[in-house]
C-alpha cells in the first residue's frame, strides 16, 4: 500500500484546507481548515447544526466537498471512496448508531476485521513467512483484544439490536477498532449515555489513544464539555459552518467568542443527565 511511510508522533496525519460543502442553499461548511497531529485527541465542538457531522462525512468520504482539499498523510484523498479511505486506515463511529442489527456482536466486530484481511492479502509483505493459519490466529487474537478492552465478553454472542443503547455504542467502537485504524473519527460517542457509561466510554477512548498497543489518533465530536476539555489535546470550534478557533482546551475555554457561541450552553448539557 502506498501510505507515504510511517508517521512519527506529532506529524500531521490529516489536513483539511479551506473545505466548502453546501447542500443547495444551505452552507454546511464554509471554508474549514484543520490540522490533526498523529497521536492526539482533536475534538470538534459547536452547537447543533454547526456542521460537525458533515465534517466527519467529508473526511471519511461519505460526502464530497465542493471545494477544498483533504489530505491524509500528505496524500490528497478527495477522490477516494469511503472504502478506499478505510483501507488507508481511517475508521469511524456514527452519531446515530449504524450497527448491523441482525448480526451478533462478534460478527459486527469481525466485519471490520474481514475487510482488513483483504488489504493484508494485497500488501502480502506483512505476512511473508507466516502461514495463513498463523495469520488467522493473529486476527482472532485481535477480536479477543477488542472484546477485552471494551469489556463486552458476556455479550459477544448476543444479537446487536437486542442490546441496550449504551452497549451498542460500545460495540460500534469495537467494530471501528477492528479495522486497526490509524485515525478514528468518533461522532458523539457519549450522547445518550448515563453518567457511569460516559465515564467508561471516556476511559476507553483514552485507552485507545494512549495504550502502546493501539495508539490511535482520534477526532472527537462531542457535546459533553467536561469530557472534551478533560481528554482532548486540541479543540476545534465550529459555528454554523465557520471555524471560530482551534487550540488547547485551556485557551478555548477562555475565548469570549467561544463562550458566547457555545460554552454558554454548557448548563444545558449538565442538566441533560
Amino acid at each position: 500500500m502506498v501510505q507515504g511511510g510511517a508517521l512519527k508522533e506529532g506529524d500531521t496525519i490529516l489536513e483539511l484546507v479551506d473545505v466548502h460543502m453546501h447542500f443547495g442553499k444551505v452552507a454546511a461548511l464554509s471554508g474549514v481548515s484543520l490540522e490533526v497531529k498523529k497521536g492526539e485527541i482533536h475534538s470538534i465542538i459547536g452547537p447543533n447544526g454547526a456542521g460537525k457531522t458533515v465534517m466527519m462525512n467529508c473526511i471519511n468520504g461519505l460526502y464530497r466537498p465542493q471545494k477544498g482539499d483533504i489530505l491524509y498523510k500528505g496524500q490528497r484523498i478527495n477522490e477516494l471512496k469511503p472504502y478506499q479511505r478505510a483501507e488507508l486506515g481511517l475508521s469511524r463511529t456514527f452519531q446515530k448508531i449504524e450497527l448491523f442489527g441482525g448480526m451478533t456482536v462478534l460478527d459486527n466486530i469481525r466485519l471490520g476485521r474481514h475487510i482488513q484481511l483483504r488489504s493484508g492479502i494485497v500488501s502480502g509483505s506483512i505476512y511473508v513467512g507466516k502461514t495463513r493459519k498463523e495469520e488467522l490466529e493473529c486476527r482472532k487474537f485481535l477480536e479477543e483484544e477488542i472484546i477485552d478492552l471494551l469489556e463486552i465478553e458476556d455479550i459477544r454472542d448476543k444479537t446487536v439490536h437486542m442490546l441496550p443503547y449504551g452497549l451498542q455504542k460500545r460495540v460500534e467502537l469495537g467494530r471501528a477498532l477492528a479495522l486497526q485504524p490509524e485515525l478514528l473519527l468518533l461522532d458523539e460517542p457519549l450522547a445518550g449515555l448515563n453518567l457511569e457509561e460516559v465515564e467508561d466510554m471516556a476511559r476507553f477512548i483514552l485507552d485507545i489513544n494512549e495504550e502502546e498497543r493501539w495508539r490511535v489518533t482520534c477526532i472527537l465530536v462531542e457535546h459533553d464539555m467536561g469530557v472534551v476539555m478533560d481528554i482532548s489535546n486540541r479543540v476545534f470550534v465550529l459555528n454554523f459552518g465557520n471555524p471560530i478557533m482551534d487550540g488547547p482546551p485551556a485557551e478555548v475555554q477562555k475565548n469570549p467568542e467561544v463562550v458566547k457561541a457555545y460554552l454558554g450552553e454548557e448548563d444545558l448539557y449538565s442538566t441533560r443527565r
Binding site: G61, L62, K81, P82, S91, F94, E98, G101, Q116
Partner: protein
C-alpha cells in the same frame, strides 16, 4: 387423495424453482433497494442460453454451469452499464430503468432466438416418471427441484461464510456503515446482479424444460413477484417460503379450480392470494417494517 398428493408434490417442486428466481429478486432489493422488474426477462435469457449450449452438444448440467458463467458476466455488465451511474439517484428512477431493461432484453431475445416455442431436444430428463413409494413424480420436476435446492444452499452458504457474502449482508443491513468499514458499494451491487442473473437464468432453464421455451417463460419469471412480496421482499428465507407457497397454490388451483373457471385461473390465483395476504400482513412474512420508504 392420490391426485391431491401428486398436485402438492408437483407444486412443491415447481415452487423450488420459483424460490431460486425469487432469491435473485430479493438479493437486488436487499442490497440496493431496487425492485428489478427485468427479472422475468433474465429468466428468459437464462432459458435460451442453456438451450443454446445444449444444442451445441454440451451436456445439460454443463450447459447450466455455462449459464451461470454467462449470468455472472451479464449481471456485472448490466450493473456497470445501466445502474452504476444511477447510484444515489431516486430509487424510482432506477426501477424505471429496470422496466426499460426488460423491454430491451425481450427485444434482444426475439431478435436472436425468434418467437417460436423451442424445446430441449433430445429431452434432458427421462419421460418415465420416477416412483417414490406410491407417488409418481415426473423426473423433470424432481431433478429441477433438487438442482434448485442445491443452488439455493450454495448461495446461502456464500452469504453466510464468505467475506464477499458478509460484505453483501452488511451492505443490505446498513449501507452507510458498510461503506465506512471498507465495503465497496460497486462491488456489492455487481455481485448482487451477478447472483440474480445466475439464479434467474438457471430458474429459466429449468422452467424451460417443463413447458418448452418461448417468450412466456419471462412471464413465469414475473409470476415469482407474488412469491417475493409474500416473503417480505428483503428476506431470503421469505423468498424461499414464498416461492414454494406460490408453486403449491398454482398447482392446487390448476387441479381443483380449472374445472370451474377454465382458462387462466392458475396464473391469477397467486396474484389474488398476494393481494389478500398483504391486506393482513402488509410487510409480508418476514419483511422489514420500513418498506414504505420505497
Amino acid at each position: 387423495m392420490e391426485l391431491f398428493l401428486m398436485t402438492v408434490t408437483t407444486g412443491l417442486m415447481v415452487g423450488g424453482i420459483y424460490a431460486l428466481v425469487a432469491l435473485g429478486w430479493v438479493l437486488i432489493y436487499k442490497c440496493s433497494g431496487v425492485l428489478n422488474l427485468a427479472m422475468g426477462e433474465l429468466t428468459l435469457i437464462g432459458a435460451y442460453v442453456t438451450l443454446t449450449f445444449y444444442q451445441m452438444g454440451v451436456p445439460f448440467i454443463l450447459a447450466v454451469v455455462g449459464t451461470l458463467l454467462v449470468g455472472i458476466l451479464l449481471g456485472i455488465l448490466c450493473e456497470r452499464i445501466f445502474l452504476d451511474k444511477l447510484i444515489g439517484e431516486p430509487i424510482l428512477s432506477v426501477i424505471m430503468v429496470t422496466v426499460g431493461m426488460s423491454f430491451f432484453f425481450k427485444g434482444v431475445v426475439q431478435f436472436i432466438w425468434g418467437s417460436d416455442t423451442r424445446v430441449f431436444d433430445p429431452p434432458v430428463f427421462a419421460l418415465k416418471p420416477i416412483e417414490i413409494g406410491f407417488l409418481k413424480v415426473s423426473s423433470v420436476y424432481l431433478w429441477s427441484f433438487i438442482l434448485s435446492i442445491l443452488l439455493l444452499l450454495i448461495f446461502v452458504a456464500f452469504f453466510k461464510f464468505t467475506r464477499w457474502g458478509l460484505s453483501m449482508q452488511a451492505t443490505a443491513d446498513d449501507e452507510t456503515a458498510a461503506l465506512s468499514l471498507g465495503v465497496s458499494a460497486r462491488f456489492v451491487y455487481a455481485a448482487a446482479w451477478a447472483i440474480a442473473f445466475m439464479s434467474a437464468g438457471v430458474g429459466g432453464a429449468l422452467l424451460g424444460n417443463i413447458n418448452g421455451i418461448n417468450i412466456s417463460v419471462g412471464y413465469l419469471g414475473l409470476l415469482v413477484l407474488p412469491a417475493v412480496v409474500l416473503g417480505g421482499l428483503n428476506s431470503v428465507p421469505g423468498a424461499i417460503a414464498g416461492g414454494i407457497i406460490i408453486g403449491l397454490l398454482q398447482n392446487l388451483s390448476g387441479t381443483y379450480l380449472d374445472q370451474y373457471f377454465p382458462g387462466g385461473v392458475k396464473e391469477i390465483v397467486p396474484f389474488a392470494f398476494m393481494a389478500v395476504f398483504l391486506l393482513f400482513k402488509p410487510y409480508g412474512l418476514w419483511g422489514w417494517e420500513r418498506i414504505e420508504r420505497v
